[in-house]
Symmetry: C2
């Protein structure tokens, strides 16, 4: 059996209450007693039992992170950003994925009860957002992460809409007129926002330009298929994919067909995944600071801890930045 607070108390000749106070840095402990307790605790390698502590203090020092998936660069960057902040505040992280399965989301959320002080939740599914309230306890501070707006909960979102507008504008500015868009999955919030940005910029910024949309699902394979489809009939001047992964799939389809980027057709993505800078030609994209997304979400949650009664802050939008690489170089006709 491991050593408990009682062992420390006995060894230090004080009550467990005093040990608790000394260890938790309360002021009302005589200096010599504090030193003795600390020394004994150290010698005994005492480490407080977390479950006991959180049962009585009603705090777990743990933040729950509920994500749709644990896959790839996005997850890893997000965790890095969250972890940096958690660490700075001495908080632990309990990770849970519902594996892209919206039905399991509720279960994942409920399982967090009594384990965490607050929740960071990423729920990018457009559908099922209504059911969220069912599983979300009002007593549990929660911040939404890239999951759209909410009336009750603070939310941090990548500014996909503004990014998509800026990218569409960039493609127009570099001389592309007929711009096709490879859309993301229909049930995804970011996919919606990016499509909306593309549509709006086209409508306002390019008189008479018609939206030209090919359905994708954020996977490389769907980008590849879309790329092939776009080569079938009349070709666009440029293709704007709703994420880099699809843009890359599209690029490979173009390569295979001997279509040159950017000479024959411009190409742009969204996210600035590491690969984007390494492919040839380098992919023009919108940079998203995913680590910052995570860090900011946690900071917002800590803000809620400090001021639970404050009205939830307005939805924060994480700005994105255009990264113009070779794939969207100005069309020859314009530079002439």
């Amino acid at each position: 059996m491991s050593v408990t607070i009682k062992d420390v108390a006995r060894e230090a000749n004080v009550s467990v209450a005093t040990v608790s106070r000394a260890l938790n840095g309360h002021e009302n402990v005589a200096e010599d007693v504090r030193k003795r307790v600390l020394e004994v605790a150290d010698r005994l390698r005492y480490s407080p039992h977390h479950a006991a502590r959180s049962l009585s203090s009603r705090r777990t020092q743990t933040i729950g992170v509920v994500l749709p998936d644990l896959y790839g660069e996005f997850f890893s960057e997000l965790m890095r950003g969250i972890d940096a902040v958690a660490r700075a505040h001495g908080l632990h992280l309990l990770i849970s994925s519902y594996h892209g399965n919206p039905e399991e989301q509720g279960a994942a959320l409920r399982a967090m009860r009594g384990r965490v002080d607050g929740l960071l939740l990423m729920s990018p599914f457009v559908a099922g957002r209504e059911d969220l309230g069912e599983s979300l306890s009002p007593a549990m501070p929660t911040v939404l992460l890239n999951s759209g707006r909410s009336d009750e909960l603070p939310a941090i979102n990548v500014d996909s809409y503004a990014g998509a507008r800026a990218m569409t504008r960039h493609l127009l500015d570099t001389g592309h007129r007929r711009i096709a868009f490879i859309a993301g999955p229909d049930d995804n919030f970011d996919a919606h926002e990016r499509l909306r940005g593309y549509r709006d910029e086209l409508a306002e910024g390019a008189a008479g330009a018609r939206p030209w949309i090919v359905q994708g699902d954020f996977t490389e394979a769907s980008g590849h298929a879309a790329g092939r489809a776009l080569l079938g009939g009349e070709r666009p001047d440029a293709v704007f994919a709703a994420n880099d992964t699809m843009a890359l799939g599209c690029l490979f389809a173009f390569n295979q067909a001997g279509v040159r980027v950017p000479a024959d057709i411009g190409l742009a993505g969204f996210d600035d995944i590491p690969l984007s800078r390494y492919v040839h030609p380098g992919l023009t994209t919108m940079r998203v600071d995913i680590a910052e997304l995570g860090g900011r979400a946690l900071r917002t949650l800590l803000e809620r801890f400090a001021h639970p009664a404050a009205p939830p802050p307005a939805d924060a939008r994480l700005p994105v930045a255009l990264v113009a690489r070779e794939s969207s170089r100005s069309r020859p006709i314009d530079t002439a």
Copy 2:
């Protein structure tokens, strides 16, 4: 305040003991009582308080994962593999990184007390392995992950030694004689094993071949520096970098210098990170199934739960696989 077992008991007209038994699926509960309890619990959206449960049951249903860092592809793949197994067993994951700081490792480990039923620990630092015992409780089942051997603890390691030998053999087989090696950081277990594999294969497989070692530290920048250094004097036939990241840095240095791969110089890495297949030329490397490394580590831990008294299994080595791409194509002189 959220609903507790007492609320359910009152509502269902039974004792809390019965509620507990019903909810935990014990046999000794009358069928109609069980149904009533379940129904009430559901209606009240009761969810057991985790800290209370684990304090009394002495089980947390949580596995601690202590890693040197939370960065990049390795971490993400590892987590994916661990999560898949955890999930299948209804276990949660408490993540902790000691941020490459060996001294903080002990603190991270101690903080897991009372929070987890077992530990997956990755401690690739060669130094400080002795101090590990200090922070590791004998009562806490622990499995070592890519951290070398241990006399007390089960350990799973990527078979870096065999992989490095196989890669060296492959480079020799493809006609390269003078093979330089870019080593990883001196305090890293895998770096040691890979260097050892390179040395041994060279000694046994290439009569008279002298090891040619350039120090790196697993970063792209160090690979780049090593690549430039190798171009300085007499050049090797091929370069074997201890990981892909350095190999890529080296490749960029060669590109910048106008040195062609593989025509002028062969190149190989280790890990098979996603980028390796996308660069030009495609990088020859050793594939490591990182997700499987994680999954297997957790399975080993569960094995310990089931048979705590069994002698720790022999160290498992996760096999690696040669992926021969363009960067190590046979030298013209040999294919002639």
